[in-house]
């Protein structure tokens, strides 16, 4: 576009950076990485007050804006307008298309589930609501959880089944990607494409932003080559040039990010799902408690009836005595 050629800088507006990532929102990170891959100079600004907007991330150049909820997303719009198209060679390869579709559907769902429903919500709170006043943050958080559950089709009845399904699909996707990647640096044709941007964004988010108890994270850690891929590309594209792009916050300064976790000390202790065992134990406990209470009740009744009988006898006897006394 003429504006870009004239040297006007792009500005990318995303959500806040934390967990050692340039932006911690899973929808914004792929766009950031894509622009990095394309080696376009751009500024980053943050929007800290609109967590429920589907317009973010957006890219501005001059008086033109490319929103994420138009024309298939920011990356697609940038490709369509020929600003930067990394996929010109690979977009015809069916395997590339299907791999990308798998990443964009199964893995995106898995991240959405893990972020809002599967984990305790601390990551989501930090990324989206830490700069909003507390009452607003809380309301929007619950609203978002409800929306995600509706989107993923999760109800009280099928919650466990859906969770299994989501994790199973994620594991399948990781397997396929790991096999596809092998020992290469990129997935296709040894150069970065939008598929790499999307998966790299997903992987970095899962590794850094999700808590250590996350099941999804542990599944990803099972594939060493994927983890290596993520860390290498992060070091090359994301961390190295972070000094060249200027960042400016919108509305308030983002809080300082957590210290980075290196790849050598990945820890993972996923919360094993003890729910089923718990329910077994609970049932046993309840049964035993019931038996206990019933026996106690029977014992008390027996005691009362026996004691009551003897008491009556004594009372009558005493009455008789009294009567005699009175007389």
């Amino acid at each position: 576009m003429e504006e870009v050629k004239n040297g006007e800088k792009l500005t990318l507006v995303t959500r806040k950076p934390c967990f050692g990532l340039p932006t911690a929102c899973p929808t914004c990170l792929p766009v950031y990485i894509y622009l990095r891959f394309a080696q376009l100079p751009f500024d980053v600004e943050y929007n800290l007050i609109y967590p429920d907007s589907d317009q973010i991330p957006y890219v501005e150049f001059g008086s033109h804006v490319v929103y994420n909820n138009e024309k298939g997303g920011v990356i697609q719009s940038l490709k369509d307008e020929q600003t930067v198209d990394l996929d010109s060679d690979v977009s015809g390869i069916p395997e590339w298309v299907s791999t990308k579709a798998m990443v964009e559907s199964w893995l995106a769902e898995a991240v959405m589930y893990e972020l809002w429903v599967g984990s305790d919500g601390s990551s989501a709170q930090k990324i989206y609501y830490s700069d909003l006043p507390w009452p607003i943050g809380k309301c929007l958080y619950f609203k978002q959880i409800h929306m995600v559950k509706q989107l993923l089709g999760i109800t009280k009845g099928n919650a466990e089944r859906r969770e299994e399904e989501i994790y199973r699909r994620a594991a399948t996707a990781y397997n396929a990607l790991s096999t596809r990647l092998g020992e290469q640096s990129f997935f296709f044709e040894n150069r970065p494409t939008s598929l790499d941007a999307i998966f790299l964004g997903h992987a970095l988010f899962t590794l850094h932003a999700l808590p250590e108890t996350s099941v999804l994270r542990s599944k990803l850690l099972d594939h060493a080559n994927l983890v290596r891929y993520a860390e290498n590309l992060k070091a090359e594209f994301v961390d190295a040039d972070s000094s060249s792009s200027s960042v400016s916050p919108s509305r308030s300064d983002p809080s300082s990010s957590m210290p980075k976790r290196g790849p050598s000390n990945w820890k993972s202790n996923p919360k094993s799902k003890p729910k089923r065992e718990k329910t077994e134990e609970e049932k046993k406990f309840k049964r035993r408690a019931k038996y206990f209470l019933v026996t106690q009740l029977v014992a008390v009744l027996v005691f009362i009836s026996l004691l009551g009988g003897s008491n009556d006898a004594e009372v009558e006897f005493e009455d008789g005595d009294d009567g005699l006394d009175y007389e």
């Binding site: 007050i49 317009q55 008086s63 033109h64 804006v65 006043p133 507390w134 308030s252």
Partner: protein, 542 residues
Amino acid sequence: MAASFEDNSTGQPKDDALKSTAPARTEPEEDNDNDDDDSQEEDDDDEEEEEDDDEDEQPPLTRQARMQSDRAKMEALFRRLSTERVPVRVHDVLIKGNAKTKDSLIEAEVEALKTATTVQELLQAAGIANARLQRLEIFDSVNITLDSGPPELPGTANVVVEVVEAKNPLSGDFGIFSKPEARSWSLEGSVKLKNLFGYGDLWDGSLAYGWDQTSEISAGLSLPRFKGLMTPLMARISLLSQDWSKFSSYKERALGFSLGLLSSRNHDLSYNLSWRTLSDPSQISSRTVRRQLGHGLLSTLKYTFKVDRRNSPLRPTQGYAFVSTSQLGGLVPDYRSLRFLRQEFDLRYAFPLGLLNAALNFGISSGVVFPWGNGFLNRPSYLPERFFLGGNSSPVCTLGGPTSILGFKSRGLGPAEPRRQVGENSTTESADASSEMDFLGGDFAVTGFADLSFDIPLKVFRDAGIHGHAFACTGSLTSLTENSYREFSLTKFKESFRHSAGFGIIVPTKLFRMEVNYCYILKKHEHDRGKTGVQFSFSSPL
């Protein structure tokens, strides 16, 4: 048994002074009095009791003689009341007729009666108490009767307050109102529930639709007296939605709670807590508006000081008015809520010219808004809290800060920014260039006007209240935040003023007040939306 006053001046027996014409005391009198003139009642009541005794003690007089003596006594009493202070002490206040309303509420309103020391003071206090009780809006009728006190205590009086509570606690309303917070008039329908718990509480729910695409649904409670507080307490919860898409490309939604803490003639203090969301569904906003889209929590304290000595709020011909409004936002300790300071001043002056009921009105209004807190010099001010000039509201009648310059459209002047460019029309030349600009408002606003109003010399118009006026307006809007204050200079400020002048006719009707003006724009800036021509404007009739 006579409830006699302590009186040593006259030789007459005190009983005689209080007796008045017996037939004068009839049922209609007591009902019609409206408590402006209680003396008759007082005499009548005293006289009624005395009458019985008198009839026992004295031989029956002829009817004619009785009437004459009563009239003489009445005249003597009036003479006494008008010439000297007649001391009296209030012994007891009896309240009757309140099944639901709490005694404490009524007693609080008639408090002043207990401290009256003379009959004249008592009558005056009774009148005031009656008006206050009626103003509570929960009674159908109020009657205050002054009676003689117990016979063993001379010089005392009893006050009997009889109220008739409103039979139907529910009432509905529909009309055109103008609210001080909203800058224009609105069509409003409301439902009121009176006195649900007996504390004089007024519950109301209302639905309003305003001229500037505002819609609001709200519910409120008003308590005249809450546990000994002197001023009425008002609480209101509302959901407000405003559509500024045409002017500034955003929509505003606010869920708010406001508490009126202090409300007297000159002072008003209120607290407001609201959750505001700015959104842009059309996705064509300019850069500055884009940066402000999102959620915000406003916790503000607003204080208004008002002195209005003009003889009429709609067509002032004499007097002055001064209003100062201060707003402090960001009172919760949470640093993430919106922090700003807003100050407005209004000054109005009117003086009559004598001929044709003409009057010259001058006015100047100014306002400034600025954020505070960390990094406040670089932060922009909150968009909905900025000042926007433009619109058709008459500057003579509105006292709500700098808002209008006749001739310019709503939000039609001031700092503006181009909207998002859509598609390939990258050329800036288009037929309606100004419609592609977002008006962002300013942090510092000043408006001034001079208005000459006069009666049209035709009896028909004069009787209907239709009058004409000629006016000249000026105003300026500049931004100071985000380091723009460094570029502020007097020459630039002088150049930023826009001017307009014109004349018109004002037609006040029962439903609304209509103005038809011809405005001529004398000076405007490139992107301002102002047009020379005829304009209509409607405002509330009150």
